[in-house]
């Protein structure tokens, strides 16, 4: 949250500090670079398009050595800073997701929603498990429908809307019929959502780096004033 808040401001010193910290954290995390780059590949395309968009369509003085190209110096600077900032946000989020176990993340979000009175952590937990279960079941269902469609030469259908309808309608029918089965199965097991959930407390040695980081951000802010 502290890092996210720091990205709300366009300050080069904060970007430099965050970039250095990201490199340090990446080395410390011992994540394979290949895996990280694979995750980042999708964003590279988006960021490149965004940079070109800013460079070509921003008003300002044209570059003297590239007069034949409608690129302005201001556009390049703006595009560069925007892409740098977005790249940092995406890298931090990718790194955070890669080094945090889903169970830990689930606990963290349960900790956030605990003060909200009408949200039961147990109910949220059950719904997450059900969604993941349904996700794999429906994927199998899609494959079964696709094979059935192929067996009936349905894959030769050229109209994408008609093709989509052939897949989606049986998929919905089959999925909805499962709702009743699952509901009775859960009810039969006596599910209760009013039991309290025990969450582990934040260890003290995890709090120290947070204070340290907060201090650095305050110092950077103070230099800018």
């Amino acid at each position: 949250m502290l890092i996210t808040l720091s990205f709300l401001q366009f300050k080069v010193a904060l970007f430099l500090f965050n970039s250095a910290m990201l490199i340090g954290l990446f080395i410390f995390s011992r994540l394979p670079l290949k895996q990280f780059l694979r995750e980042f590949r999708f964003w590279v395309i988006f960021l490149s398009i965004l940079f070109l968009f800013q460079a070509f369509f921003s008003q300002g003085i044209r570059l003297s050595f590239l007069l034949w190209l409608p690129i302005s110096k201001e556009g390049l600077v703006l595009g560069g800073i925007t892409v740098w900032r977005l790249g940092l946000i995406v890298c931090y989020a990718t790194l955070f997701t890669a080094v945090t176990r889903p169970r830990e993340l689930q606990k963290a979000i349960a900790w956030f929603i605990k003060p909200i009175p009408f949200l039961s952590e147990r109910r949220v937990g059950l719904m997450v498990s059900l969604t993941l279960r349904f996700f794999s079941i429906i994927l199998d269902e899609v494959e079964a429908i696709r094979l059935a469609l192929k067996a009936r030469l349905g894959d030769r259908e050229k109209n994408p809307i008609r093709k989509g309808k052939i897949v989606v309608y049986p998929l919905l029918r089959n999925s909805f019929s499962r709702v009743e089965e699952v509901t009775f199965a859960i009810a039969a097991r006596g599910f209760r959502d009013d039991l309290p959930l025990q969450l582990p407390k934040l260890p003290f040695h995890h709090v120290i780096p947070l204070f340290f980081l907060f201090g650095i951000f305050v110092v950077i802010e103070w230099f800018y004033l």
Partner: protein, 180 residues
């Protein structure tokens, strides 16, 4: 827990899973290929109503946040919330809620569903476009060209399909007592 509430809970989880599956299904129409997530977002609002539709989308975002690959292109993680697509994802919450809200309250048959999905689709952009502008620092004009105009044809088709699907599966759900 009452069986009716449990049934709605299971149905909301199923709709969240369908939105995730929709992110994997590409239909090549127009300049930008259509991903079926938004179709199921609108459908969740139409079938579940405002409250459970909102819960379903909240669940979908939660599952995506913990890193499960449920977002477009089989991606997951917090990067999608903090990056340029974050507004569209939060727009799913608003879209599902507003679609359900209109569908529950207005009288009339086809018209209320059509109005609900149109407003629902616009709700996604109402959060997505300003968020994209804020994150990318583009002008309003450029943001609209970059983040809204190419998707409008696809959204029109998805909205129409959502209404047709909702009307054809409602009798099945009523028969199974999943919805009233």
């Amino acid at each position: 827990m009452p069986i009716e509430k449990l049934r709605e809970l299971v149905f909301a989880s199923l709709m969240a899973a369908l939105v995730a599956i929709g992110a994997y299904i590409h239909v090549p129409i127009g300049p930008v290929p259509i991903v079926l997530s938004t179709l199921f977002v609108l459908l969740s609002g139409l079938l579940l109503g405002s409250r459970w539709g909102l819960a379903s989308m909240g669940l979908y975002l939660f599952v995506g946040a913990i890193g499960i690959p449920v977002f477009a292109g089989g991606k997951g993680g917090l990067a999608h919330f903090l990056g340029p697509t974050g507004g569209y994802l939060f727009g799913y919450l608003l879209a599902s809620w507003i679609t359900g809200f209109i569908s529950e309250r207005l009288s009339g048959r086809w018209m209320k569903d059509i109005l609900a999905v149109v407003v629902g689709s616009l709700a996604i952009y109402s959060l997505g476009v300003p968020w994209l502008k804020l994150v990318t620092q583009l002008s309003w004009e450029k943001t609209l060209i970059f983040g809204m105009v190419p998707f409008l044809i696809g959204d029109g088709i998805k909205s129409a399909v959502a209404v047709i699907l909702a009307r054809s599966v409602r009798p099945i759900l009523k028969r199974q007592m999943i919805i009233e």
